[in-house]
């Protein structure tokens, strides 16, 4: 099966438990985290995760769950297939 990867990005004000909440949802959806990086810029928390979504054709359930956490913690959480970044930034 073709490997599909997605980028989860989390941007917002830093607070306790962001990584824990997001990764819990990913674990519940049986999605493996391939890479993770985070930084804090002027109090703004930015985290990027590459996750393996092979076999998960429908990402909308995951998106809804992440949206909920985003609202709860006042964060902007996006999930996008990795190809869009490859297309824009790699030849």
């Amino acid at each position: 099966m073709e490997r599909r990867r997605a980028v989860v990005s989390v941007i917002g004000k830093d607070k306790v438990g962001i990584i824990s909440k997001v990764t819990t949802i990913l674990a519940e959806n049986n999605m493996n985290i391939l890479d993770i990086s985070q930084t804090i810029l002027q109090d703004f928390f930015t985290m990027m995760m590459i996750i393996d979504v092979t076999g998960n054709e429908n990402l909308s359930k995951l998106r809804d769950q992440l949206d909920l956490v985003g609202q709860e913690m006042d964060l902007k959480i996006n999930i996008q297939l990795e190809e869009i970044f490859q297309a824009m930034h790699r030849i």
């Binding site: 941007i11 890479d35 930015t46 990402l59 902007k76 996008q80 970044f85 824009m88 930034h89």
Partner: protein, 453 residues
């Protein structure tokens, strides 16, 4: 991590803060096999074919936009120029057909259906004549149907009989929708050198050289280009061109990826990518503001043409490197009502109708979404079309006229069209008559540029 964090952030910023979007995924559909000597049968065939082929267009486009996190603003359909299949239908039947197309668009949830069109750059067939007669009513009783008429090409010259008639068509269409500021005219484009695979409205149609069905994608992003330039206030103009080129490259790549995914999922061939900087009234989503960022106090002042030429060319170069199938109009649109910077230029007295006309020599299309005084004569409208067609014909480029003579409005008043169409200050036209020239009719011969074989 193969993609760096700052690259991911750049993409997210482009979408969320700088209005990068896929402006439209447009499905082209050939209706040539729908022709029938019985009008009712033909009408049924048309409705059936469109609603069958495009039944999943909206759904698939919405799924794709969610997965990639890049919004697709419009879902559209372009069809075979309808005059080609009209046969011996009457004017009333042609208006009925427009309503059927409108219904199909609404049922499918698509924003516009383009191709209620005729190609008359050399002469009128029977169907063309019927369509032109039906146009004012058809455009005023439908919402989503868009029309275009080709009146000139470099290879054929300008059909001045068609140009004359369109002056009346535009006037009547405005009059019939005077309660809505003449909005029917916003759905009608008069072309010189139209392209067959343009995904943008109102000028999209599915040309004679196209296949059964095709997916064409139009990408926009003036805001992204503007923000990229803002980071380099001291760059020289060569560098400015380079910055625009690189930005256009990235936007085009994103558009092509999404277009190909949609096409694959619908099992319809991918046609072309059209990267056109098309402004909207959103903050900072303006082509005029890019020109001002290059260094003009107000759009329309001296230097505007040079800045626009530089930008249009850089957009094309970036797009051409990014996709093997760049088509449509690819460049920059300069609609007035959809661009806050253009509106401000007119209000401040920096931007005139003559300057807009001159700008169309170096941008991708023509006089677009310009409100003019309601008392303009049909002959003056025709003469405006003739001027634009001449610019296109001689320079071997597409030019177009989409003007709205707003009934009852005078120069300087502001009119609202709503939604993507925006608002516009009413502009005055030259008070001297062109009537005698328009009355002559006939055909302006193809220029020497046409004799290239």
């Amino acid at each position: 991590m193969t993609i760096a964090m700052d690259e991911i952030l750049q993409t997210i910023r482009m979408v969320q803060m700088e209005n990068l979007d896929i402006r439209t995924v447009t499905m082209g559909i050939s209706l040539r096999d729908c022709a029938d000597s019985h009008f009712d049968k033909m009408q049924q065939n048309v409705f059936h074919k469109i609603t069958t082929l495009a039944k999943d267009l909206t759904k698939v486009a919405e799924e794709t936009e969610k997965e990639f996190g890049v919004p697709i603003i419009n879902k559209r359909i372009s069809i075979t120029p309808i005059a080609e299949i009209l046969g011996s239908a009457t004017v009333e039947q042609t208006v009925e057909l427009a309503k059927t197309l409108d219904l199909a668009a609404k049922q499918l949830g698509v924003d516009f259906i383009g191709g209620f069109s005729a190609l008359v750059h050399k002469g009128f067939s029977k169907g063309d004549e019927t369509l032109l007669k039906a146009l004012p009513e058809a455009l005023s009783v439908t919402e989503r149907v868009c029309s275009s008429v080709s009146v000139a090409t470099t290879r054929t010259g300008i059909n001045m009989d068609a140009v004359r008639q369109l002056g009346y068509v535009i006037k009547e269409a405005a009059e019939r929708t005077k309660d809505q500021n003449g909005i029917a005219c916003a759905k009608l484009v008069v072309f010189c050198n139209p392209v067959e695979d343009n995904p943008f409205m109102a000028g999209a149609f599915h040309g004679a050289g196209e296949g059964e069905a095709v997916i064409n994608v139009g990408v926009s992003g003036p805001g992204v280009v503007l923000n990229a330039l803002k980071k380099h206030p001291q760059a020289d103009l060569g560098e400015v061109s380079d910055i625009i080129k690189k930005t256009a490259f990235k936007i085009t790549r994103a558009g092509e990826l999404i277009g190909r995914v949609v096409a694959k999922r619908l099992d319809i061939p991918f046609g072309i990518m059209d990267l056109s900087l098309a402004p909207t009234n959103a903050i900072n989503d303006s082509v005029a503001e890019i020109l001002e960022e290059i260094g003009l106090e107000r759009v329309g002042t001296h230097g505007t043409i040079a800045a626009l030429a530089l930008m249009n060319d850089a957009v094309k170069k970036g797009g051409a490197m990014a996709s093997s199938y760049v088509g449509g109009l690819s460049g920059a649109f300069i609609p007035v009502s959809e661009d806050n910077g253009m509106i401000r230029g007119i209000i401040d007295g920096a931007l005139s109708l003559s300057k807009l006309e001159a700008m169309t020599c170096v941008c991708s299309v023509g006089l677009d979404m310009i409100a003019i005084t309601g008392d303009v004569t049909p002959a003056t409208l025709s003469a405006m079309i003739a001027d634009e067609a001449a610019i296109g014909m001689i320079n071997k480029k597409t030019t177009a006229v989409r003007v709205i003579p707003v009934p009852g409005k005078q120069e300087g008043e502001m009119v609202e069209f709503g939604g993507l169409l925006g608002r516009a200050p009413v502009m005055g036209v030259n008070p001297f008559s062109s009537q005698n020239m328009i009355n002559r009719g006939g055909r302006i011969p193809a220029p020497l540029q046409a004799l290239i074989n």
